[in-house]
Symmetry: D2
């Protein structure tokens, strides 16, 4: 328990969530893994069962601060909950707290019209449909979002969309119905007002999911990562979110919470890896003594503990700042934890994999899959290097006269 104010409500939910993980998530990890390996992009039955249980227990839509739609928790209150979910690869979805739906729901809550909320937000909150987010493009370095080229052109009361997107995570899910697309509406406007975000139902003519991208060999079924082409795709003008040219503004608002949610879950992934490593080291013997008695493993355990505790404090601080000063004021802290959390998780996971030997790289333990997932987070939503560069600019600014 860190000194950040822990509300009673959050603590109660932490206990409840931990019990749910112990009772239902960990015991079903292998089953989930088997089902997704055998069924591909069909939804694994265990997932629907668990979602039903979570809904019944009120462990549903715990994200969404300052909103009547979700559980009404602050970021600080949500942080330890997201961490707990992050301990198992597929848990966040069980509680309807998984990316990219969470980010998309936040966008609709903040910037969506009433009609958009009615049509898309409600079923997303209910978990009856899922969604994806189409920003990154294969042909340009999307870490610089001004590179994005997809065209969104007004034609009467419709917009016509042409372009190619990839890493639309969730596009493979059998329940995925809608995507939020970022693209150019005003290519000659001011730099940060050229892009817009628009809602595109996946069954619109001209939308084709051309393939599902693997991540280190994982297809990440059932949600997956889609490459999607948009060929003369027409949607009503009312599908535009907030207004033309608001793409960057929405992205700023969307990415902050998304990044910190990922970070919170990464802390959980790292904690899980540390626990698995510690337990394994106590039960496995080489050269006449358990691994836990060998100095190098002990250093790994201690260094992991230190790195995790520091990353957690940084996450909580960022969350606290978002709550008390706003997402924009917390921009630097969010960038910091966006870089720190996946790297800490990767390093703890890697040590745990090494401790498990051959089992570590297989699917007998959840480490390899968690590692692959964490590795993408050094790239997604801007690579480490872009965030670090921005942090340096901020740091230097105060000394420029």
């Amino acid at each position: 328990m860190t000194p950040f104010t822990m509300s009673e409500r959050s603590q109660k939910l932490q206990k409840q969530l931990t019990k749910f993980m112990d009772d239902y998530i960990y015991p079903n990890e292998n089953l989930y893994e088997q089902q997704v390996r055998s069924r591909g992009f069909a939804e694994p039955p265990i997932l629907e069962d668990l979602k039903q249980k979570a809904r019944e227990q009120g462990l549903w839509n715990l994200f969404l601060p300052e909103s009547e739609y979700g559980a009404g928790l602050t970021n600080t209150e949500y942080a330890p909950l997201a961490e707990i979910m992050g301990r198992a690869y597929f848990a966040a979805e069980v509680f309807n707290c998984d990316a990219p739906d969470t980010g998309n729901m936040e966008v609709l809550v903040r910037y969506g019209s009433e009609a958009q909320k009615e049509t898309w937000l409600k079923p997303l909150l209910d978990g009856t449909i899922r969604s994806c987010f189409s920003m990154t493009e294969p042909d340009v370095a999307s870490s610089d979002a001004t590179n994005i080229r997809t065209q969104i052109v007004k034609d009467g009361h419709e917009y016509v969309i042409n372009g190619r997107k990839w890493w639309s995570s969730g596009a493979g899910h059998p329940h995925c119905r809608i995507s939020i697309i970022m693209g150019l509406t005003n290519p000659d406007g001011p730099k940060y007002e050229r892009q817009s975000m628009i809602l595109v139902p996946l069954d619109t003519p001209g939308v084709t999911v051309t393939r599902m991208l693997p991540v280190f060999g994982y297809d990440d079924a059932p949600h997956g990562h889609g490459e999607i082409t948009f060929d003369q795709v027409r949607v009503p003008e009312d599908n535009m979110i907030w207004g033309e040219g608001k793409g960057f503004a929405i992205a700023q608002g969307r990415l902050g919470p998304g990044r910190i949610h990922h970070s919170m879950r990464m802390i959980g992934a790292a904690e899980r890896a540390l626990e698995l490593m510690a337990r394994r080291s106590l039960t496995r013997e080489t050269f006449g003594k358990p691994l836990a008695d060998q100095g190098v493993i002990r250093q790994w355990i201690a260094q992991s503990r230190i790195a995790i505790d520091q990353a957690r404090l940084l996450t909580q601080w960022a969350a606290y700042k978002m709550d008390t000063e706003g997402n924009k004021a917390a921009r630097r802290e969010i960038a910091m934890i966006k870089v720190v959390a996946p790297n800490v998780a990767l390093s703890v996971l890697d040590r745990a994999i090494q401790t498990f030997g051959g089992a570590g790289v297989s699917d007998d333990v959840p480490l390899a899959r968690m590692w692959a997932n964490a590795r993408t987070l050094r790239i997604a939503d801007g690579p480490d290097e872009v965030h670090l560069d921005q942090l340096a600019r901020d740091e230097l600014r105060q000394y420029r006269s």
Copy 2:
């Protein structure tokens, strides 16, 4: 070209091999990837085509130093060839130079009876069958080989084998016919004379490949990594290699060359990653300039070059020492490169992945697959930590009075 004497023969083969890679391997990487994804553990047709071409050009069995069976190259001569093969994930198999067949062939050349050579070595050299090697067990820390528990019990003129093995790489290959098994024949004998190695055809009753283990998300079809149970498996006594109790001695002889072959290929993998990273950085722009003009990427490129060149020198030195002083005398150098090469490859591959962004973790470029493969080599044939510990013992010995 390093100052290690490069024979004319090796240089000629290097040129020939490089041309083969340019003409046939790189252009077919995507096809190979598609075929294995779609066909699973059936052999991809492109592989047989390429093998035929390689055989015709005499690029076949280039390993096997000091032997009438192979190309008759020294380790020093072979090193740059294996490096070139390592530049593509599946190339070594095309030239019949892939683990575990190479190690198994070396065992049969050195320790096999004439009958064993006739029955198993010849078709392996011809490439008409493939093989696997069953040492590691799921239930014990096999990094300490004295832990191995599989029983090999004499019964009349047969041996009866009971046990469970995993990470029998190659067991999934449709042509895999034979495994070399390590197990206990004399559980009460002197510590390093308890284990033996024996040939077990995979179609022997009682042999069951229970599953194929994934590496991260890759099934590594068509060869794969098998878990195999041996349940009252009976083989003729003549299948014993060299003699009872020789398991450790054979392992020592087998693992040295196997480790350095892996290391040579890892240098190639790292070189490939560096080339891909450099090319990508020249063509990809963010924030108004190519990645190649950004300082951090440039540091990565330089640090990668330095790490690779050092690792190559160490590999060549180890190979040279094996050639001139014998495998045993080169034990320390082999242990060093066993640790260095995969770690260098992993770090260069990781930087290259980061440079490619989303494409890097997918199968659009061969980086993620190479990374997963390299990651297993920090575990296979003894984890880094065991080799480092042994190196420290050797280092300290000279100062003990």
Copy 3:
């Protein structure tokens, strides 16, 4: 400002202290450096001037939580103050907040008799005398304190002390009058009750400061690090602190606050280095642009910012836990920050040195001296490795059944 409750009192002192640093400390850094270089172990006049000013402003004895003797600040309140002091190498002494006096005063406050307080604590609080602490011995690995061999033998109403100590920091100071010595009183008692702490005035016959130890070439005058021999040294029995066999108990009590004070100052040293690096990078040009526009330097700046902010949060958390749950409950957090803070400071200082080039290793900027000081803290009060090992034991304990 982190979310840890910052009392108004602390914030007011932070402002006052920052102003004092700006007005008096930074402008006199070079003068201090010159005076100590030219005068050796005589007190540099500037130091006494500054102490006088600090006393007048009430910036005096800010450490000492829960005590009527000091300023009455909590550890959490003191943390940002110690950080500010840590920005200049010699600042803590100016405010009478420097090791080892602070630790010795804490020992006397907590465990000293009334007479001991009257004789030694009062002048230490007044700053009229200074003190040293003699625990480490050259002949044994003192990281394991059970190795300590100095003998403290009762003889009538006196104790007779024989032994050799080193790294008695402060022993060179012209005002140093007293040392607290740790030694064996009950060599055959229970392991953690064999050692005692006793007060030994430095002018007692038999006490000889045999030499002052350099730290990377620095003699650290005027306080220095003494090697001291104790040859049949006799002190009254009343000099024993708390009682025979209490050495370990006192050490535990003494070292916790000492370690966190060092850590707080290390954060300050790192912040100073980051500021110097940032400013330098803005004013220095190579190859046509300022260092601040070069990617590698920018990564250093960002990585330094991230590491410092995480270390500060960990320090504040440890301080908060000491305040709310007691020093013993905060043992793990103190061990963590004891390892983290010097390593973070060293890495930021090293980058700053590299940014300054030749000036960085010289005394034109305070970086090299701060580095040497920080380097000792990876060894003093237990090397990193001992703390990490203990942390691993704690971590593993919860999983042992």
Copy 4:
């Protein structure tokens, strides 16, 4: 013994040199340290004694490849000799193989006029005088040598020099008589033809050594690192080396060998540190067992061995390439080892310091001094970052179309 051809002559000298180190250098390290601490910039008597012995044994001027002046060894032959010298901080000077004299002698051999050779080269080869090299300036980032501002203006048959230099290593030596100065003769000429090098006797009016710069806390007496002002300094036109505008060309020729000599010695420093660490770990006990039995120390020992062996191979490769293809062709290899060697030495030295605890940072063992010296080599002759950037440019060049 690496596979690089080791000539009989070099091997014989290696044995002789090792014996000299064992007989005279190591036993006098403490004496040397004491003499320089107590005598400052007067020459320590032990140094002259040892030089005399070295000269008698023919262990003199072993550098200088392809020249009638020195021992006539190739770089490859000299490498292991320089490594042996590098094992003790002051050894190279004993054999007249120390920077900056070696570099200055190389300049005179290659580019000096007959008169310059007679006047300055001969006494330098005899060791009767010493010299310094004045390139770096305090007011500009000299890592970019085009920044250098010192003016060298022709006036009749003289040159008039005005400027300020620092890090003129050797300027403090009581025998230092001459400096080679780099400065602007043609400020408006082509970029790399603006600078010249000229010989300036230190007793010329207008030359003032204003201070000796410390390195961390070391003054590096008796040679030291001088800051020198040149105020209307007049020297005969014949003091110009090679010709006006040749400064860059000479620097290129001078710095290659100088960099590799430093690297060779750094390997020796690292080997020495590893030996000291290993020996210490065998004799020091904590928690009931010698440090050598603790896993973390063992990993340090193994990692150090691996890093050193790789760095040595890279050094020898670079030397070999200089011998066989010329200094210019070996530019990349020299840059690599210039970066690698000091970093390897620093990391091994740091681990050794940690193993020694308090003794490690003091002068009881030579580690701290060696560390400070190695640290300057990440800055001197161009910081790591500049070399890495250049290496990246070279690497990228081959892929630019």
